[in-house]
Amino acid sequence: MKTRDEIAQALAACGYIADAELSTAVSLMQLLKRPLLLEGEAGVGKTEVAKALACAYATELIRLQCYEGLDQSAALYEWNYQRQLLAIQAHHGADADAIEDQIFSEKYLLERPLLAAIRRETPPVLLIDEIDRADDEFEAFLLELLSDFQVSIPELGTITASAIPHVVLTSNGTRELSDALRRRCLYHYVDYPDVDREARIIMARIDSASASLSLQIARMVEGIRKEELRKVPGVAETLDWAAALVGLDVRDLHDVPETVFETMMCLLKTREDRARVTREVSQRLLGKVA
């Protein structure tokens, strides 16, 4: 995987239809060995990028889901305290040094995603999902890890990465990330796909969707996104909807306007949005779809 076209093809083979900019981003990731920060609305397929990347590299995907209060023991490593206590009890009376050496060995170490990522022989794809949900302190710690790719465990020593993982960070923008972290990463803004790309995504993901139906669905969704909605449907919702329509044996949206309106529950997830896209609006949007 060298050129952008090759990257795009490899991603497409894994079911991710990338635009030219994203392929550039991935090729830069390889060249500069920098992490890639993906931002964008919820549901535009940020996490999918990492999954597709892991598939394209034919390597393991290690995922760290961030949340408020995430700390080192959940992200990096933790000693298996229960087993350690048990071992201390079992070897009661034995040489203290020997016990200590034993209970602070690999056997009692619980590997968490970040440690796992830097200890793999072949470089895995490390997905740090929704980094904006983690605390500032964790972000600072992550910064250190991402620059040196080494971890020091006081009882065990320093562990240096055997292979530098491909790091993908995603953010929904619920919190402003620090400038330091942003600077260290390549930045890519994932936008809603255009009609053509969205149609190709539907065809790639849903086996029995025909080209004409996919295009119709993509056009329809594009129209819906232009309405004043509280929660704009993402690609995930489009796929849900397409799956629903295919499952209901719909061949052409114009044949079944009623079904189109009723299945919009796949796209519109708040009461206000549902109320806004009335039967008439649905008809009007459908009218615009060629």
Partner: protein, 401 residues
């Protein structure tokens, strides 16, 4: 695509590369002038990108450098324009400063944003209870206080008056006291509510070393306290012009004193001004603010501004411990129903809404304007505030939130 065809001779390479390096560093400077955080490491990476064939096509280079230099959505959006302007000589679409441009030669001063801190009393003759109707107002000149106007004021606002050191110190002082009062209160309540959490084995073992490792006293994991975040939305419309200066200084203090704070200005549009106001260089801060505040001093569309806020900023700046402070007189020229709806949406998101109304300090004022009427049901504290002193007097109320 990643290789670059024929190999030129070494002298040529040297010649070309020094030229390219110069252009590149000039481009980096342009980016820095436009607010990009570009360090040395990025410059080096850019050079290595250009060396490895990405410079073959402008489109490819633009896309590659865009990923490298952008750090946020706003950078991402304006990068293409800057790139084209610098490398391809096209006109810049967005409003941005190219390297070496004369520093904001145009900042005509606005009379109606004069410093009102000390002169408030002497102007009281013109301070009248404003009528809610929307007429053009019979009086002319600086004392035009009648309701809100629909017009957008297109001139740029000069915030230079903000730089009076004494006033700034006072504003910071008020903000500091406020920050202290609000912080302690919320923390204590938070702690009382929470009891028992997951067991922290690491600390438990450590604590019980003196008992020979038998866990007698258990240590529970504590959730970290999130600092209170204050989000200030300041109405900078014409009807508020007397107070804009005071509150801008206050916002400056808030941004400095609170651990987490964000500030927005709104009139007919909403502008996020935290970045501009946090700028270290005071002159630059004022220039950026003047650009952002274009249209200040005109009419007010609170509902639409709040809608913009809810839609584009709320998810990012509001968390579970956020207090939103709206400073406005509530004269709405837009749709009052929209304001009501957006206030309801905002109330669902944040912890508390404080509405400070300078007009409330006047005798005989009653909240009859349609805007304020629609908003009031969603407000937790509705209080008068027109000077820094009155802000300081609010301390006990704000502390109780």
């Amino acid at each position: 695509m990643s290789c670059c065809g024929d190999h030129p001779s070494f002298e040529e390479i040297d010649e070309v590369s020094s030229l390219v390096a110069q252009r590149l560093s000039a481009f980096l400077k342009t980016l820095r002038d436009n607010g990009f955080a570009v360090g040395l490491a990025e410059g080096r990476d850019a050079a290595s990108l250009m060396a490895s064939g990405y410079a073959a096509k402008p489109g490819l280079l633009r896309s590659a450098l865009k990923h490298l230099f952008s750090a946020r959505k706003s950078d991402w959006d304006k990068f293409d324009g800057l790139f084209d302007a610098f490398w391809l000589g096209k006109r810049v679409r967005s409003r941005s400063i190219t390297s070496g441009a004369a520093k904001a030669a145009s900042s005509p001063s606005l009379k109606n944003l004069q410093d009102t801190g000390g002169t408030l009393g002497s102007q009281s003759a013109t301070d009248q209870v404003p009528s809610a109707d929307d007429g053009p107002g019979g009086r002319s000149g600086e004392g035009r206080m009648e309701g809100a106007s629909r017009a957008e004021n297109l001139s740029e606002v000069d915030f230079r008056k903000l730089a009076d050191p004494e006033q700034i110190a006072q504003a910071h002082d008020a903000a500091k006291r406020l920050a202290k009062a609000m912080r302690t209160r919320l923390t204590r309540r938070d702690r009382a509510r929470r009891r028992g959490y997951r067991l922290d084995l690491r600390r438990t073992i450590h604590r019980n070393i003196s008992h020979g490792g038998v866990p007698i006293s258990l240590v529970k994991r504590q959730r970290k306290d999130k600092p209170l975040r204050l989000v200030v939305l300041l109405d900078a419309s014409g009807s508020m012009s007397m107070y804009t200066g005071v509150f801008l200084r206050f916002i400056h203090g808030v941004l400095d004193e609170f651990r987490e704070a964000e500030a927005f200005l709104f009139h007919t549009r909403l502008a996020h001004v935290s970045g501009a106001m946090k700028e270290r260089d005071a002159a630059r801060a004022l220039d950026r603010l003047s650009i952002l505040a274009q249209g200040a001093g005109g009419g007010t569309r609170i509902g639409e501004s709040l809608a913009t806020f809810n839609r584009h900023h709320a998810a990012r700046v509001i968390h579970s411990r956020t207090c939103v402070m709206i400073v406005s007189d509530g004269y709405e020229t837009g749709d009052a129903n929209l304001l009501g709806r957006e206030m309801a949406a905002l109330a669902k998101r944040c912890r508390r809404i404080v509405w400070l109304n300078p007009m409330l300090a006047w005798q005989g004022y009653a909240p009859v304007a349609a805007g304020i009427k629609a908003a009031l049901p969603h407000v937790d504290l509705y209080a008068p505030a027109n000077t820094l002193n009155s802000l300081a007097a609010l301390e006990p109320y704000l502390a109780r939130l």
